[in-house]
């Protein structure tokens, strides 16, 4: 069981940030190896270097005993390294088959693409994985989960010796995750070395043989999965022990109803949704992917208003037909997709922070006051521990966890009465998660009514005072916090027997 891949003292520096600092580790043949660490630990950078996309500043890559230089992505693929990146890299207007065989389509005479061979080969690969999607379907019609599966199939079809995956389960449903793990075990037996980055420690323990912890671009430790615990991993990742990242649930000031939603309906997205949230309450909204939770959140925020229904904030009826009106009413919305809908990646942190409430930063005849903007930005940076050399830094240069913190603090600027938080800790490391939970609780203490939409059951269970379960567009159950268990929430979400 030799080492298929070894990295020795790899370093990579970006302006102002040392992403990798003399990092070394090895990957054995036929093993599933997890890579964990906080945001900014250097995991994505390492994957990009091993995938041939980034060139290391120092150190060596040793592939099957031989020193190698990876010139570009194509070169890495030819040398037997296949990568599944976190942000999907598929071509939306082309079919599944065309995406899988990009640049290696089977050809007949004269270099013409043999469509029959293309589609049947793709079909075969998909079936081997256990996926039923038609290979002729265009990728833009696929759900995120299915698109992720196509990417994985594409990578494995290169017959790699090493398969690298960056957060492969982030868009997958529970069933799809299990199927992926079954496939990982199959590939492991075929001798493929698999390295995957994940923030989901329970999944790590389910499928990994060994786990390596990274911190601040450096190697911390490698352990056999069976010989360590989640708490031990977390403390190595963070460098300190975190007790109960979710914090203590406070008794909410249950008097006034802050948000009242009555009879919200819109086509097939959601029907007859009625619920209330009191001041200082955190209400979790659980359900399977596609149940309509994000659509409901967006409807309350005015992005796609409902066809019918009534919304009241602090007792007053409000017509919210656009996000602008929502903000004026005191509603804030943390999107689930910070890169596409939440932040302006090419703008500075300070610019993003003031965007929901520019009016407050205007002085004189409609001119923005730089000083006010900067002092607000510095305040946010301090309060939220946003790690950046300067608040003028472009948001795209921040790590995922820091970006999420920017997103959250952005909304705090308008002291919202209602906050809809959609997947607030997706793709965020443990340390940052605990900070975000702390801030959410602080907001609740100040009286904000929070609607927490999340696919992370632990998160919902530990943070919510009450849990609403949505299924196929309707609220099927309301469970008080003390009575909630994972099984109960899941059964209601799936549609089996459910009290109430």
């Amino acid at each position: 069981m030799g080492n298929t891949l070894k990295v020795v003292e790899i370093s990579k520096e970006f302006p102002g940030v040392k992403a990798l600092d003399g990092f070394s580790f090895s990957l054995r043949r036929g093993e599933v190896h997890a890579l964990v660490g906080e945001n900014g630990a250097g995991k994505s950078t390492l994957i990009h270097i091993l995938g041939g996309v980034l060139r290391p500043d120092g150190g060596e890559i040793v592939l099957e005993g031989k020193k190698t230089h990876l010139h570009n992505a194509h070169d890495a693929a030819l040398k037997g390294i296949a990568v599944v990146y976190q942000d999907l890299s598929l071509v939306p207007n082309l079919s599944v088959a065309e995406n899988i065989f990009a640049n290696r389509q089977p050809t007949g005479r004269l270099g013409f693409i043999d469509r029959k061979a293309l589609n049947s080969a793709a079909q075969q690969l998909l079936q081997q994985f256990g996926e039923e999607t038609a290979p002729t379907l265009q990728v833009r019609h696929l759900s995120l989960g299915k698109a992720q599966v196509v990417e994985i199939v594409k990578a494995i079809s290169l017959s790699p010796k090493v398969l690298l995956m960056d957060e492969p389960t982030s868009s997958l449903s529970t069933g799809e995750v299990q199927r992926l793990f079954a496939n990982l075990r199959k590939w492991k037996r075929e001798g493929i070395s698999i390295l995957f980055v994940s923030h989901n420690l329970s999944e790590v323990f389910e499928v990994a043989d060994r786990v390596t912890v990274m911190k601040d671009g450096q190697y911390v430790d490698t352990m056999s999965a069976s010989e360590t615990t989640e708490d031990e991993l977390v403390s190595k990742m963070v460098g300190r022990t975190i007790q109960n990242i979710f914090g203590e649930r406070l008794q909410p000031l249950r008097h006034r109803v802050r948000l009242s939603v009555e009879g919200f309906s819109r086509g097939s997205d959601f029907r007859d949704v009625t619920f209330q949230i009191c001041e200082g309450e955190i209400v979790g909204l659980a359900g399977l992917v596609g149940a309509g939770r994000t659509e409901l959140g967006r409807a309350i925020f005015g992005v796609e208003p409902p066809d019918s229904g009534e919304l009241r904030v602090d007792g007053k009826i409000c017509r919210v037909r656009s996000p602008r009106e929502a903000i004026q009413t005191g509603i804030a919305y943390l999107t689930e997709d910070r890169k596409i809908h939440g932040l302006c990646l090419s703008l500075a942190i300070s610019d993003n922070l003031v965007s929901p409430n520019l009016r407050a930063f205007v002085r004189g005849a409609g001119m923005l006051s730089d000083r006010r903007i900067l002092s607000f930005a510095e305040l946010c940076r301090e309060r939220f521990r946003i790690i950046t050399p300067s608040v003028r830094q472009m948001v795209m240069n921040l790590s995922g966890g820091n970006q999420q913190k920017v997103l959250l603090s952005m909304w705090l600027g308008i002291t919202p009465k209602v906050l809809i938080a959609d997947e607030p800790t997706r793709g965020v490391d443990v340390g940052t998660k605990s900070e975000i939970y702390h801030h959410l609780r602080e907001m609740a203490k100040q009286g904000t009514a929070i609607l927490l939409i999340s696919s992370d059951l632990q998160e919902i269970l530990k943070m919510s005072d009450r849990i609403l379960v949505m299924r196929e567009g309707r609220i099927v159950s309301e469970i008080p916090g003390e009575d909630a268990t994972e099984e109960l929430v899941l059964t209601c979400a799936i549609g089996a027997r459910c009290p109430q």
Binding site: V53, S89, F112, I113
Partner: protein
């Protein structure tokens, strides 16, 4: 069966356009029988040949996410270069024509280098080269028309093969070949990947820079060919040959289903777009409507095509 319906949907914009073109033709012919006479049709095909040839190159560029505003100037340049070659330097027509084509390829290489290698915005680069090349045309011609070419050259533009004028033959051959290759050859299909998601194309190992270079050189060559045909047809090379052609061609290609964002389009669609535009111009003349309305109508057609496509996409 499923494959057939999907096949339909990705070609549906072309079929829709084909339908519109057919309906327009039939309607016009009924209203004004002169419209469908053989001579009228030939005249329309002739006037669209040059644009259609350029549109092939432009379609490929748009699909890959690129853009070329310099085609009109290149048309003028190649015609002028070939003309001067024959008249001033007495070169045989095929040598002069070769120089004309090389001029087009050179501009294409220039564009390609700045856009593909240095990754500068194609709109701005080709805007600049459009002006520079037009300037060159003025300089080398001294501001004067050049005419009086050997008959062998003029045959290219005025000669006939099977009773059909040469430019039309060139056009049909290039369009047919282009459509076939774009749809089936692995090499040209890579443009869809590049335009659809360039990052994905790079990660899949597609040689993006090389392909983009090729695209711009091809565009330059096709524009140069069009320039030769126009010069041969009219018997003179003028300083203003090709002015405004780039916008006409982009309009036609977009009507034909391409998007400025890249990732979609077709050569057949570009051809149909060119055909539609020429039919509209032809019918304006035939109906006795003031020729001044031409620009307005063409602009309206472009906007309609884009809006319809946009609305169709939203329903998904």
């Amino acid at each position: 069966m499923k494959a057939k319906s999907l096949f339909m949907s990705s070609r549906s914009s072309e079929l829709g356009l084909l339908l519109i073109v057919a309906v327009y033709f039939v309607a016009m012919s009924i209203y004004e029988p002169l419209f469908c006479q053989f001579d009228m049709v030939k005249a329309m095909l002739l006037s669209l040949s040059a644009n259609a040839i350029i549109a092939c190159g432009m379609a490929i560029l748009l699909i890959s996410g690129g853009f070329d505003l310099s085609v009109g100037s290149v048309l003028g340049l190649s015609g002028m270069v070939a003309a001067l070659g024959m008249v001033k330097y007495g070169l045989p027509f095929y040598v002069a024509s070769l120089f004309g084509l090389l001029a087009g390829a050179a501009v294409g290489t220039f564009n390609g280098f700045l856009i593909a290698r240095l990754r500068i915005n194609p709109f701005i680069i080709t805007l600049g080269s459009m002006k520079m090349v037009r300037g060159l045309v003025k300089v080398i011609s001294g501001g004067r028309e050049v005419s009086d070419f050997p008959k062998t050259f003029e045959w290219l533009g005025q000669g006939k093969l099977f009773k059909v004028q040469m430019p039309i033959i060139f056009c049909l051959v290039i369009v047919a070949l282009g459509e076939l290759l774009l749809r089936k050859s692995r090499f040209l299909r890579q443009n869809f990947y590049i335009g659809g998601n360039e990052r994905s194309a790079i990660l899949s190992g597609i040689p993006v820079v090389r392909i983009k270079m090729f695209n711009y050189i091809l565009s330059g060559l096709l524009a140069a060919l069009a320039g030769l045909l126009i010069t041969a047809r009219y018997g003179n090379a003028s300083v203003t040959a090709g002015v405004g052609v780039e916008l006409q061609v982009v309009t036609a290609v977009i009507i034909g289903g391409a998007s400025l964002r890249g990732g979609k389009g077709s050569i057949l669609g570009a051809f149909l777009g060119t055909l539609l535009m020429v039919m509209i111009v032809g019918s304006i003349n035939l109906l006795g409507v003031r020729a001044d309305w031409q620009d307005f109508v063409l602009g309206a057609v472009l906007l309609t095509a884009v809006i319809v496509d946009n609305l169709r996409r939203r329903e998904r």
